[in-house]
Amino acid sequence: MKRLTLIILIAFALSLSASTLFAAETFDLVIPLPLTGKQAKFGEMMKRSYEIAAEEINAKGGIKKKKLNLSFEDSGAKPETARAIVEKLIDTKKQPLIVGEYTSSCAKAVAAVAEERKTPYLVVASADDDITRQDYKYVFRQNAVNAHYADGLVSFIKNVAKPKTMAILYESSAFGNSGADAMEKDAQKIGVKVVLKEKYEAGSVDFKPLLSKVKAARPDVIYMVSYVMDASLLMKQIKELRVDAKLFAGGAAGFAIPEFIDNAKDAAEYVVTASLWCFKMKLPGAKEYAEKYKKLYGDYPSYHGASAYSALYVVKDALERAKSWTPDGIRDALKATNISTAFAAIKFENKEGYQNQNFMDTIVMQVVNGEHECVYPDNVANQKYVFPIPTWRERR
């Protein structure tokens, strides 16, 4: 009888502790993301990456022994929806920090809400320069801004290719214009003359007239700002016309994704492109994360995923250092962040008119043997760059 009472007592105590474990020993984090609509592909990738990170963190004992409990809310890449979700999270759920979103317009909306309600917000993959230029005290961004996106590439052009002239081709859209203008400024800074700057209509069929003109101008570098299908057509037709240059460079977007190589085939060979992250780069944790992702979902993630994955480690680090788990406590801890993650080294700085912005090194990828390899800067490169590149005639 005594023994039975004891067992019952123990069982009772256990169930009590178990229930408290579930009730109080978790940290709930709701992440707004686009899971439907045009951006769903990226939202999905980020969701999976958050989940991988949460699982790893929980397997190692959680954050200060609390289990990290993730859930997601679909914003459909609509700023109004994102705004409503975050208002609810802060006002009713009293969530002390916000992580997430993808498109710049949503991130802007969320940032405004977070700042107004004095709750820290960690921006994960939105690149619009303005988000961290509005004197916000509670908004932090770990990915590079648009204006610094091509820093790695510019340094590669300056130190490796050492060209005298450059041609810039870009699509006539806000994205194309800003990319081309930024590169023109950078080119001037490093003393490269822009001999030709031409825009084209996205979705064009025939780039050959434009490319004949480029060929006649004989630039050392051809820099293109394009989305994927224009990027592939441009390179294919460059090959057809045998337009030779010391370097073919792409401003990320269309050039940095595997579809570019699938479509342009051998014409994509040796093209370099700016990027934030590559699963092949030598950065502790990057490869492990990418392999885990590939094992679960069948393909390698892009920087969006890596940034999301690392964001939870930034959160974990901040929460562990925070004096209290209140919005202000977490904000102060985030401000003092200085860690290296699978995405990049992360440290939030105020400079060049940005507040709480992480100035990460951006990288250069080159297509070698039909695959994107990280070739620059040397400390993270997994392979030496191919330069000078052979002419089209030599290639065959």
């Binding site: 825009k199 209509e201 434009l210 004949s212 057509l233 294919k236 699938d262 085939k265 014409a267």
Partner: protein, 309 residues
Amino acid sequence: MTSVQLEVLLQTLISGLLLGGLYALIGIGMTLIMGVMKIINLAHGELMMVAMYIAYVLFSSFHIDPYLSILIAAPALFGLGVLLQKYLINPVLKVEAIIPENQVILTVGIGMVLANIATIIFSSDYKTTPVEYATKAWYLSDYWRESPIELSLSMPWSVSFCVALVITASLWFFLTKTDMGKSIRATAQDKDAALLMGVNVERMRVFTFGLGSALVGSAGCLFIPIYYLYPDLGGQFTLIAFVITILGGLGSTVGAIVGGLILGVFESLTATYAGMGWAPVGRFMIFVAALIFVPGGIMSLFKKRRLGK
């Protein structure tokens, strides 16, 4: 003129002619339909899109070369055209409506439906048929070593151009030399007289719509190796076909070829000498100029506004 400038000019003209040949094949189907039935088929580009998806499926599932898939896609599009004409357009043509051009609105609707069906089946992702010869080209310097200038002639573009010419020539032969072709032309010229002469006008119309669809279908198959594919691609090609039809003269096959070539060359020249961003502007300048100065199309200048001649 230096050799560099000459090279740019010649290369531009080559690209323009090759592009023009393809434009002509896209335009010819529309001009045929417009000539015979006096309706503007604004689903023209979408029909081309359907043919491209057929070519894409044949390529990705059965490894059939896009050029060979003309043999499947063109008859399929013929069937689709016949069905559309018989069960959708003809009934609407018979109805007295407040707006006289209600068939035009109908074709816009058909186009939207086709584009949306394609989105549902294939999603809005870009698709391509990565063929081996996609970037193959012939170079002048390979054949003539001392050549001061370098010109290149893309293989898939040239093949498409030649096939387009063959198709157009056989169409011309069909329209001028066969009974059926003559009946179609008769229907185009005077529907009532043709009816009195014993031509089955109704059948000719159905047949013509099918033929026009088959033509743009083969244009789609010729296009896919050099371009790519997505459900909303139709619109821009409908516009091109429309410009060519106006430029060449309604219902004139030769006019469509001339119109296509003019448009192709003009676009390439604008791209080279005014900037590629200006190419669409150039297209519409031609369109407006044609409407103002040669309202009957180029062929009206030769005073022979008969279909096929």
